[in-house]
């Protein structure tokens, strides 16, 4: 466990990299003993800084939610990150690229919560009941680490590579869908670049919300009403660049599209 001074120093490094932007070396290069708990301490400190600047927490993102990514990182549960309200873009709009380094896009299902959820062991049914609606989402992730190369500890401290995101398409009541089998096509400049079924996320994307609530509870927190939860890329993340048109189609949930600023 790192001391407060080390956490503060690492927070400064990540905050500066996200604001500038520029790439940095893996945090574990200088702090080989750093743990996942340290990384979440960095996230807490980032949130405190950002809120002091007037930025607003809109919700949470889950990452490493597919079996392939978990196996790759050697973990058995997702990672979580913060979603800030000023990183939301509009369906049909433009993603600002001035602060992006080597962005990638992934398609996933977003949950928008109607009721607060709290506790160590909420069920999938509890998650569904507390959800206002689910909606297609595109997430632009962008690692602040060189060449997108990182380890688990470093990527969590970098707020799970969070950069920009948008919700769009058709909002649906989760009770009306089988959220395990929503087919998703992710297109770049009109060509299919990735495809997936929503069940690629932990068998059911509500499981990401369930695990998020348990994780928040362990840290003495809850998932407030109104929160947005990105449940993690169902598709792989595809590289995108300035000027690209990105679109995704979701079975029975419509489509969502955005363009990367030139």
């Amino acid at each position: 466990m790192l001391d407060a001074a080390a956490i503060e120093k690492l927070t400064g490094i990540v905050a500066a990299a996200q604001a500038a932007p520029h790439t940095i070396a893996k945090l574990t290069d200088d702090y080989p003993g750093m743990t996942v708990a340290d990384s979440y301490a960095v996230q807490d400190a980032l949130l405190a800084r950002w809120q002091a600047e007037g930025r607003v927490l809109a919700g949470y993102k889950a990452g490493l939610t597919s079996k392939a990514k978990m196996d790759q990182m050697g973990v058995s549960e997702p990672s979580f990150g913060l979603l800030m309200a000023d990183t939301i873009d509009a369906d049909g709009g433009i993603i600002p690229t001035g602060k992006l380094i080597h962005p990638r896009a992934e398609a996933e299902i977003a949950f928008v919560m109607k009721d607060e959820l709290a506790g160590a062991a909420v069920s999938i049914g509890d998650v569904i009941a507390a959800t206002d609606f689910v909606q297609p989402a595109l997430e632009i992730i962008d690692s602040r680490f060189e060449k997108f190369k990182f380890d688990l500890v470093s990527v969590i401290a970098d707020n799970g590579s969070s950069a920009r995101f948008l919700l769009g398409g058709r909002p649906r009541r989760p009770q009306e869908l089988d959220l395990r089998t929503i087919g998703i096509l992710l297109e770049r400049n009109g060509e299919v670049a990735a495809m997936a079924s929503s069940g690629a996320v932990l068998g059911h994307p509500a499981r990401a919300v369930q695990m998020l609530v348990a994780w928040l509870h362990a840290r003495g927190r809850t998932l407030p009403a109104g929160s947005i939860v990105l449940t993690g890329g169902a598709t792989e993340a595809i590289p995108v660049t300035k000027g690209d048109a990105i679109a995704a189609r979701f079975q029975d949930m419509g489509g969502i599209s955005v363009r990367m600023e030139r």
Binding site: R180, I182, G183, I184, M195, G199, A200, G203, Q251
Partner: protein, 270 residues
């Protein structure tokens, strides 16, 4: 594509595959030992292999379409699908127990099965024609199996071997294809309750409807009838799954339904 093999050679290779099927053994791949074999030759060998099964009392009940994903096409070195013939002895009911020892080197794939209400006669068949001629679609497991040693197949080998058909299971749920976006139909496969694979309809030739239209047109070229009531397995939505550990596999396809299969080893009468 032309035929190069004499009828005697076609029958010899078809008989050899039929014997391998009967005895649950394998033969070396054909491409390395049958000089100049073409895809057309391979379809003739397939026809003889299937004819042997029909002569032994099986009926032809439909077709399967294979090699429908980009990844498999690249692995096998072709850029169009292939097809095989389904027989009555291959059909199992939803939830059936299947004895792994009754097969040679089985693997499972989850697909959308089409059941036609009208004949489809190519050429000129489009996805729209397929929608209009389809009675219903169902979730299906195809258990592919290869009579070729070690699954060492290129297109000529698998076509001759009846497109690696093993057995298939149709789910009980039926859906009207006019109610479903099959391109965006997501697949989840669970083994003993744990998610093990996923996929999507678009992986099949862009849409399973395109795959069935391709088959209608290909059969039209060959003068093979494509009849109302036939079952068409349109191609795998996801990866090939190993089944050697047994277990209960359940496939669910969005808007279509579920299908399950219970693999056992020994003690089950297949």
């Amino acid at each position: 594509m032309t035929r190069t093999l004499e009828q005697a050679a076609v029958e010899r290779h078809g008989d050899e595959l039929y014997d391998a099927f009967l005895n649950r053994t394998t033969v070396p791949n054909l491409r390395d030992r049958v000089a100049g074999i073409t895809i057309t030759d391979a379809y003739h060998i397939q026809a003889h292999f299937v004819e042997r099964r029909v002569r032994a009392g099986e009926a032809i009940v439909g077709k399967k379409i294979g090699v429908t994903s980009r990844a498999i096409q690249e692995a096998i070195g072709v850029f169009e699908p292939d097809f095989g013939q389904l027989t009555s002895a291959m059909a199992f009911e939803d939830g059936a127990a299947i004895d792994l020892d009754s097969l040679i080197q089985p693997r499972a794939e989850a697909e959308i099965a089409f059941v036609l209400k009208r004949d489809l006669k190519g050429p000129g068949i489009t996805a729209t024609d397929v929608l209009r001629a389809t009675d219903h679609v169902r979730t299906c497991f195809e258990i592919v199996d290869s009579r070729i040693c070690g699954w060492d197949i290129k297109i000529e080998d698998t076509v001759a071997d009846n497109a690696s058909c093993g057995v298939y299971v149709l789910g009980e749920d039926k859906a009207d294809p006019r109610d479903v976006d099959l391109t965006l139909a997501g697949l989840l496969v669970e083994r003993d309750g744990e998610a093990v694979a996923s996929g999507v309809g678009a992986a099949v030739q862009g849409s399973p409807l395109n795959s069935v239209a391709w088959l209608a047109n290909r059969l039209g070229q060959l003068g093979i009838p494509f009849r109302a009531g036939e079952v068409i397995l349109s191609g795998s939505l996801g990866p090939l799954l190993p089944v050697s550990d047994g277990g209960l596999l359940v496939a669910t396809i969005g808007g279509v339904g579920s299908c399950s299969i219970n693999f056992r080893r020994g003690g089950v009468h297949a």
